[in-house]
Amino acid sequence: MSPLAAGDDGEPLIRWEWISNNLTDDIAEALREHLILSFTPVLLGFLVSLPLGLACARWKRLYQPTLAITSILYALPAIALFVILIAFTGLTYTTVVVPLTLYTLSVLVPGVVDGLAAVPDHVRQAATAMGFGPLRRLLQVELPIALPVVMAGLRVATVSNISLVSVGAIMGLGGLGQLFTTGLQRDFPTPIVVGVVLVILLALLSDLILLGIQRAFTPWERAGGTRRRKTADQAALPGGGAA
């Protein structure tokens, strides 16, 4: 592929030799940091939002206040939280992980509650009639049925986190975002293009893997019957994270 001309100084959009020269140290290191910084919050957020969502579904009175808090958390710009946290956690991974965990919560808690609320009443009653206790009913009936909605939330949170991590580059904690700041400082597009492409690939790959997991765990969704419900659920989810 011939280098695409760009910029007023004739600098190509991509210099392939820069990529091969920096592949093993700069790029690989940035990618490693990016993976840690984006997946730790997803994992933590998932672990917290599951019990929180269950509690909200069980005690309905908790839901409205929780929803109000998560919708405010959702609106808070990640960069603002990064900056405020520096005073408490310094320039460490924690400064990036905490805001992104909060963001994950703001997407996942409504997902868990809505997913559980979507379990039809007759299914719940049938499970009870078959002698399922509350815990077994939750694990074997309600959670599996809620899974597509929960997974939709998890996918949104994962993909958004992957792109939000790069904002941390402003404080030197941005994984692949470091490539952007390198490019700006040197007025050199190649690292920026590499960073953007890798972030997008990482996000799409993670999304596909999560989709695969979801499909593996919900074989009945593919068997027909309750088709055509999912698109509406996904559309109603808020899109993307706030930088």
Partner: protein, 231 residues
């Protein structure tokens, strides 16, 4: 907690509320970038969503639906900072264009997807009734579909607005103004109170926009539609 009090006392310092580096003029800059990006976004995404929502039958409908949904996913994956810096490095255009490009790219998909989904979800029976009453295509779109789709459209607009407000902070990173100026300058000079002050201002602005849209929803969504969507 001391750090937070330092940041709060920053708001009380003299000179903070006037001059080109004062909070009012930074607010005006921030709102100016955001409003411009928001208007461009709405001008592109709203008519497109209303139009595409009409493609309901045949193979084309499947393709349109897939492309619209995929655009939403792809938009979430886009690293805004990267797009912004790339736009700055590549363009030699005036100051404002590089920041508007990523803001609009980021904000179009939520508006597009929600408008599209909102129009698609209008019950066929309602549409038949409207046509039976003799409404023309344009009348059906404006008097029936737009009001029924309004809750979802507002959700899309709110998401877009919040993302624009948050992301406009990054404008300062490439030399423009706005509240991000405090964060970038504070970071460069290692003045935590200024950084945190800027961060608090952006956060407050974003939350205010969130509340504004909650109010807007209360006032502009038709009571009948509100009952249906259960809020």
């Amino acid at each position: 907690m001391n750090a937070i009090f330092d940041a709060l006392s920053w708001f009380g310092e003299s000179g903070q509320w006037s001059g080109p580096d004062g909070i009012p003029s930074r607010l005006a800059e921030h709102l100016w970038y955001s409003l411009l990006a928001f208007l461009i976004t709405v001008a592109i995404a709203l008519p497109l969503g209303l139009l595409l929502g009409h493609v309901r039958h045949g193979r084309l409908a499947g393709v349109v639906g897939f492309v619209v949904m995929a655009s939403a996913n792809a938009a979430r994956a886009l690293p805004t900072l990267g797009l912004l810096i790339l736009a700055v490095v590549l363009t030699s255009a005036g100051d404002l264009v590089p920041i508007l490009i990523p803001l609009v790219i980021l904000a179009v998909p939520p508006v597009l997807v929600n408008t599209y989904a909102g129009v698609q979800q209008v019950e066929p029976g309602l549409r038949d009734a409207a046509e039976g009453m003799g409404m023309t295509g344009v009348q059906v779109a404006l008097r029936l579909e737009a009001p029924v789709a309004l809750p979802l459209i507002l959700l899309g607009l709110r998401t877009a607005a919040i993302q624009i407000i948050s992301t406009a902070t990054l404008a300062a990173y490439v030399g423009l103004g706005g509240f991000g100026r405090y964060i970038m300058d504070g970071y460069a000079r290692q003045e935590y109170d200024q950084m945190a002050g800027g961060a608090i201002l952006v956060a407050v602005l974003a939350v205010l926009v969130q509340l504004l849209f909650a109010l807007l929803r209360r006032f502009v969504v038709s009571p009948g539609v509100r009952l249906q969507t259960g809020s």
